[in-house]
Symmetry: C2
């Protein structure tokens, strides 16, 4: 008797786990999603809060992916480049976009610095090495970020003098890592 | 002498006009743009305020386009469909997404209604007829909208019972109309 109780309880437990929305399921989210209900994480990057609002791996998007990101004071993206288009919309805060616009040299070189601020927007020229930093002392920097052709295929530079050919492909990217499927990797 | 003064003044005037950012020039905007400086218009649609933050026609985007839109109480998008992906991020306000998810019939039919609200996000399934309305009595509905493969190629329905084959292509779309180039039309 106690054995069948355990089996029933185990069955209920597994059933309960299975009916929960998987964090990696493209069917685990309603059509209209409350952003506060979506998974929020720093994915191992201090100062970052990242939410994928509409993504390839999470939601089956094929052409665009939208993120909501928050950078604490002093935190930055890596120095990186990608061949997809990328648009930022700064919702609040202040920071700096570093952009090495001359991608024909052997390495990015000293980037130009552009102030970014709440209610500003900018698009990154494809394949140009860039970095976005919260350069404010106190306030968070909150941005909506849109990329094309997800999931993100990103080449990371250790510094601005690293040759383009030495920049290292980071795939899957931080937030895709927990859920990326081998079939997606194969399509790269 | 007075003749050459006039010529110099005319020269300065034309030079000044030429150096102003054309509203249709892909080179007329700085890299980081203050959203308040971008052209805002209703493009003939009562209750709408539309700003293209990063666009194909205005800024040379090829894969994604980002809009900031405000809908006054009672105002709506047309009932429409498109084969590109589209993501909405609701910044503030409340409204309703009407979606005719079954696109295999001859016409959209009665749509499902989904409440949308500040801090919510949703993606429109490609080719499904849909309409977004501000169904609130008092507050504006403000949204960021992202589409793929710009400029937008949109089929408009007069009502939910209009056959898919009768929906009319609106190209260029409202905000692209003042600036669309014939070369872009040829690529459609």
């Amino acid at each position: 008797m106690s054995g069948s109780v355990i089996i029933v309880l185990l069955g209920l437990l597994f059933n309960s786990i299975a009916s929960q929305a998987s964090p990696c399921s493209i069917n685990g989210f309603p059509l209209v999603r409350n952003i506060s209900d979506l998974p929020l994480d720093n994915y191992g990057r201090p100062g970052l809060s990242h939410v994928t609002l509409a993504g390839s791996v999470l939601h089956g998007m094929k052409e665009i992916e939208v993120w909501l990101q928050n950078f604490a004071p002093g935190s930055c993206t890596p120095i990186h480049r990608h061949s997809c288009e990328e648009v930022f919309v700064v919702l609040r805060g202040n920071g700096t976009l570093y952009l090495a616009a001359e991608s024909h040299g052997k390495y990015p070189g000293t980037p130009q610095a552009y102030p970014i601020f709440g209610n500003s927007t900018f698009a990154i020229p494809v394949n140009d090495a860039h970095q976005v930093c919260n350069t404010h002392n106190l306030e968070d920097l909150q941005m909506l970020v849109v990329i094309s052709r997800p999931p993100a295929k990103v080449f990371i530079y250790e510094d601005w003098l690293m040759p383009h050919t030495a920049a290292k492909l980071k795939f899957p990217y931080y937030w895709d890592e927990p859920c990326i499927q081998s079939s997606v990797k194969d399509e790269l």
